[in-house]
Symmetry: C2
Subunit: 303 residues, 2 copies
């Protein structure tokens, strides 16, 4: 379970009983991230067994309510549950002000600090990086400044094939070199190719793109990811409405997935007019076979 | 069904799957009111079959998040569902700013107007009145300015007892007089006591008091109401915690109910530490017999 996405909310602007507004819980190499936080996200977290205090980084795509109205309540609950660890919030500019105003009105102060990373429109760059994971962001095309995000595992160490070591007279300091992918010369002077002593561990990546119109500029950003979540608010019969509101159809999402050569596509941010995603999936599959319409509570391994 | 309260949320600051933060739907003489609007209220409304657009007046007790974090989302949904009717929102000062800021960030504008009635601390008076219904507000005692509300039916017209009219030679203009409670003299000069020709229709009242510490100043405001909702965040073993946080225990609520001579008491705003209200109810009943611990989705007729 090194890389897993849980769909906490797969809906769009109007919350329904069975389809909450956007939020996702992402576990990557034991880092716990929250991606967007629509109203009721904290209840969806409870339903899906998410431990509130494990989350240290929250990424917000844009400041339409269905992507952030749940943040202030979640922060409040984290506070009431006694959090003292600092929290990092990444979003387009303006979120800090609205959150702080609400706590000021309530006469309260959070028990933990928040490091705000507020982006100007069209920001592109790395927002989080540690030894094992990297998160980068890039602009989408919507009615207001909106950011897409890619969550990437960094290059992993190779796994040693222990039984191949018997014949080699390696030095202890050769081990890290092999893990990092280097050939080594043993004490007897013999060259060992790294492929003979170790196995490659692939690194995986996940891209989140919501909300956005069809926008080919994102293709270089998400190229070859293992899993892409792309909004598909509408089916093809609503193409005009999609265009007008800067949203995508399932076909738009599938075309992006195909052109970006991703492995699998998740279709979400479904309009409240649909009771399921059968038609979205059907339409997307005419362009890109590995398309899946999502529902709240679904889990996906990135592999 | 002239006067009905639906408990949309009976919980306190930390929302749980089965106990939402405070909100109530009040129907009184076909007027549809919302009392408080914690996060997820719109989903609770859907679960309980509440028609969003029938609500024209929203009353907010105070600006702790569990009483208003759901408002901005509800307004947004009313907008997306095409509302054009004006909406009235009553609350302590500051709410308008935070709601407007959030729509400004989202680049949007609501499709309907809002008339804000923002109160200074310790405001007392009538906030809504029409032909049949009156709503008044008064200060509670909490950590920040907090308002209680009473919803009252005005004096109703008397119901005519048709069969008693046979022997009377009344004029057509006598009818409204009887309905309003006046004796009349018929065309033959005979006096008819209004009690002989018509039945009295009692008017009912409902008081909402949350959040508040034990506060006897509210007694004259809520005296003799038919139904009182009084917060009972804690049971008696947590009296110190109640005191420190300006909340009430079930015993506090029962003492207020008894001293104010109300008919029935609802105990709500239950702390997340409790899985039910059995103990609250048990303790309150030692003081005031007609005490009921509430759960989300419960309905109460005011009669």
């Amino acid at each position: 379970m090194s890389f897993k996405i849980t769909i906490l909310g797969s809906g769009s602007a109007v919350p329904l009983e069975k389809r909450s507004p956007t939020s996702q819980y992402i576990i990557c190499q034991n880092r716990h991230f929250l991606m967007d936080c629509g109203e009721g996200t904290q209840i969806q977290m409870r339903k899906n067994g998410v431990k509130f205090q494990k989350i240290n980084h929250i990424f917000i795509s844009h400041l339409h309510g269905d992507h952030f109205f749940g943040l202030v309540g979640l922060l409040s609950t984290m506070h009431l549950l006694g959090r003292d660890k600092n929290l990092h919030v990444y979003s387009p500019k303006g979120l800090k002000e609205v959150v702080e105003l609400q706590y000021k009105l309530g006469g309260g102060k959070l028990s933990f600090g928040i490091t705000w990373f507020e982006m100007e429109a069209n920001f592109k760059g790395i927002v989080f990086e540690d030894k094992k994971v990297l998160v980068r962001t890039f602009p989408l095309k919507h009615r207001i400044p909106t950011q897409g995000y890619v969550f990437e595992e960094k290059t992993k160490e190779r796994s040693l094939i222990k039984e191949k070591f018997d014949d080699a007279t390696l030095r202890i300091e050769d081990i890290p070199k092999i893990k990092q992918g280097l050939d080594v010369i043993d004490q007897s002077g013999k060259l060992h190719k790294v492929e003979d002593l170790s196995d490659f561990n692939p690194s995986f990546s996940y891209a989140f793109c919501s909300d956005t119109a069809y926008f080919e500029d994102i293709i270089p950003e998400i190229e070859n990811v293992d899993l892409l979540y792309h909004e598909a608010t509408f089916t093809e019969d609503m193409r005009e409405r999609a265009k007008k509101t800067f949203h995508s159809t399932a076909i738009d999402a599938a075309n992006i997935a195909k052109k970006a050569n991703v492995k699998r596509l998740l279709l979400g941010h479904v309009s409240a007019r649909y009771t399921d995603t059968i038609q979205h999936e059907k339409e997307a599959k005419t362009i890109f076979k590995n398309s899946i319409g999502v529902e709240d509570g679904m889990e996906f391994l990135v592999e």
